[in-house]
Symmetry: C2
């Protein structure tokens, strides 16, 4: 399936020239079952790779994200090493809020920390929109990367408005995001304006990556697992739909991933639409990412078979003896057979301590399994 891409993408875009439109990743995201299962790993570009650690010496995280040559090289490293079916743009979910002028740093061992948290109506009023010119280093990094990737697609990504808002309100990482959720209930009007702002910033960041050559877009809602379904539907999902709306008419496949998202998986898939996976629908996503907690066949029961699933090898299995890991990977592939199509991935990011040779071996195993439908009962522990 090599659907012609809509006109809004530049003529040189890999989906328009056809360079990536027939790739296993793009085909699977669009609902096809390619001859070999596509596989990539969340956080494949990063600390598990010695070549990454070497390159990063002396450069702060956000500086690395905003150096086009470095961000591009880091994005390419795992593609070269593991032979994965996609690059994922090396960045951080707080990059667009930094580009919008928010005082934020990434503190090693802790995570993003804000100079001053955003907690009041006045704080929200003071947030500036993201100047498109500020996205120049992102555009350049993506263009460099895509030029190197050949027919391997690049996935663009952005943090979802709730996750951005959680960092903004908490002022840093937190366990249950109670300050953010408190603002949601105590001042819903300010909450809504904050998430509108975050959706604009996030959407612009995602759109810049797609226009510069990314062949798919993933919205990443790290903290969605702290919400009840009712709160997600009423106070979060509409803003996630707004963020994804920024790339809707570009026609690239859209992936939505959350951690601990079992209770809201269907809502993350439809985002208010009634037709998950319908490419004519500006809201519904093409693929839903599933974390390690939920078996993929159970995920398909929740979201229906109109959408591709992505996941969900348990990162905690990567250090297990190979026969245990292999049985687990085969089980994931077998359960993924319940969906219309399956993009293999981890159920969360690569842990920094991971032995990268294990990841390469997992890619080889998955590529040996063909389209995944031949993985039967015998392989399940």
């Amino acid at each position: 399936m090599t659907t012609a891409a809509p006109a809004a993408l530049p003529d040189s875009h890999p989906l328009v020239t056809g360079r990536t439109s027939g790739s296993p990743l793009v085909r699977a995201l669009r609902g096809d079952r390619p001859e070999t299962l596509p596989v990539w790993f969340m956080r494949q570009a990063g600390r598990s790779l010695p070549e990454y650690r070497e390159l990063r010496v002396g450069t702060a995280m956000l500086d690395a994200c905003l150096d086009p040559a470095m961000a591009s090289e880091i994005t390419l490293q795992p593609v070269r090493r593991h032979g994965v079916d996609a690059g994922i743009f090396f960045s951080d979910i707080v990059v667009p809020i930094k580009l919008a002028g928010v005082d934020v740093e990434i503190v090693p061992g802790r995570g993003p920390v804000l100079g001053s948290p955003i907690r009041t109506a006045a704080d929200v009023d003071a947030l500036a929109p993201l100047d498109p010119a500020a996205l120049a280093p992102i555009t350049e990094a993506v263009q460099r990367t895509v030029a190197e990737l050949g027919d391997t697609p690049l996935i663009g990504f952005a943090g979802a408005p709730f996750t951005l808002a959680a960092y903004l309100v908490e002022g840093g990482p937190s366990k249950d995001h109670i300050r953010a959720r408190t603002l949601m209930h105590s001042d819903p009007e300010t909450w809504s304006r904050l998430l509108d702002w975050a959706a604009g910033v996030s959407g612009a960041f995602l759109r810049a990556q797609v226009l510069a050559g990314a062949s798919a877009a993933q919205l990443f809602d790290s903290w969605v697992g702290s919400l009840s379904r009712a709160d997600y539907v009423a106070s979060v999902a509409p803003h996630s739909a707004t963020a994804l709306g920024h790339v809707a008419e570009l026609g690239v496949p859209r992936i939505h991933f959350g951690v601990g998202s079992g209770e809201v998986l269907r809502e993350m898939t439809t985002l208010g639409s009634t037709t998950p996976g319908d490419p004519a629908d500006a809201v519904a996503v093409d693929a839903v990412g599933v974390d390690w907690r939920l078996p993929l066949d159970e995920a398909v029961r929740r979201v229906g078979s109109g959408v591709t699933v992505q996941g969900n090898i348990d990162p905690a299995m990567l250090a297990a003896p190979w026969p245990v890991l292999e049985a687990h990977v085969r089980d994931v592939v077998r359960r993924g057979g319940a969906a219309r199509a399956h993009v293999v991935n981890l159920g969360h990011g690569v842990p920094p301590e991971t032995d990268p040779t294990v990841l390469t071996r997992v890619v080889e195993l998955i590529h040996s399994l063909g389209d995944g439908t031949g993985v039967g009962e015998e392989s399940v522990a």
Copy 2:
């Protein structure tokens, strides 16, 4: 309903003398619907109270837990102030592992931190059993507390083996407990021995509180939400059953609470039993705690109607304007009507910043609602 308590409890125990056996809390836990709904708050004893902060000045957390007079006074403070229907013993889930000789401190703003994490078979071999004599300060604190409480029951509590093991393996708080879950998969034999040890320590801690006068026992699995159902059933639940088994023949009602437990709520209720809520069953619990993510009526659909539910006012609602909070509390009570009985609580601990007068007002509201069955549709926002 004032069921005669089994002989294994001391004659002076409040459930044997009848002092607490007719209390709303004990009746509700045993499946009755008392005339007024019982209410207490997880972490009601603690930082939200100015009298607590004053008392704690100059005393480290674990020292306060092991000072019988101080632990007792802290336990009593919220009962006096709020008029809640139960005291919850002031302690910390790492107290029993400290009493077993593990080098652990609670670092303010961070949480429990171990001198050296437990990650290998040799580390597990080196763990000593808990000397019953070490529990003397716990016994004394509970006895003092119960003497003051009159006919208000005290709830004893302990951390579940998985949560203890997560701290032991990680060496401190962590987000997804990946080191612990990695050990589970990479060395299941060592994992099993570690959880056996934790279950013994946790069970002994819980049993000491019950023998000293606690009228109910809550097992608290803070981190259970990081597990898939398959991992919970295979590698965790049997050990939680072992921990709860330490108080089984004492016949006190047992509550099981976990955070983010939606996927495993039924398994936390049955713990391998097929008859949730059957008091003749040594394994099944009497009440299941539900966090803020899952509406209580949905929780009842998952666990069945043979068990009492506890919860689940969203702590993030406590700072909302009163009409919003009141509507939420009424909604929680209405949904709790789906269960055989309901113990009102928060869906997680009291946030330290909470205005305590709000908690008192919530107690008054709940006590004004009678047995809860009169709270109808009109009150739902």
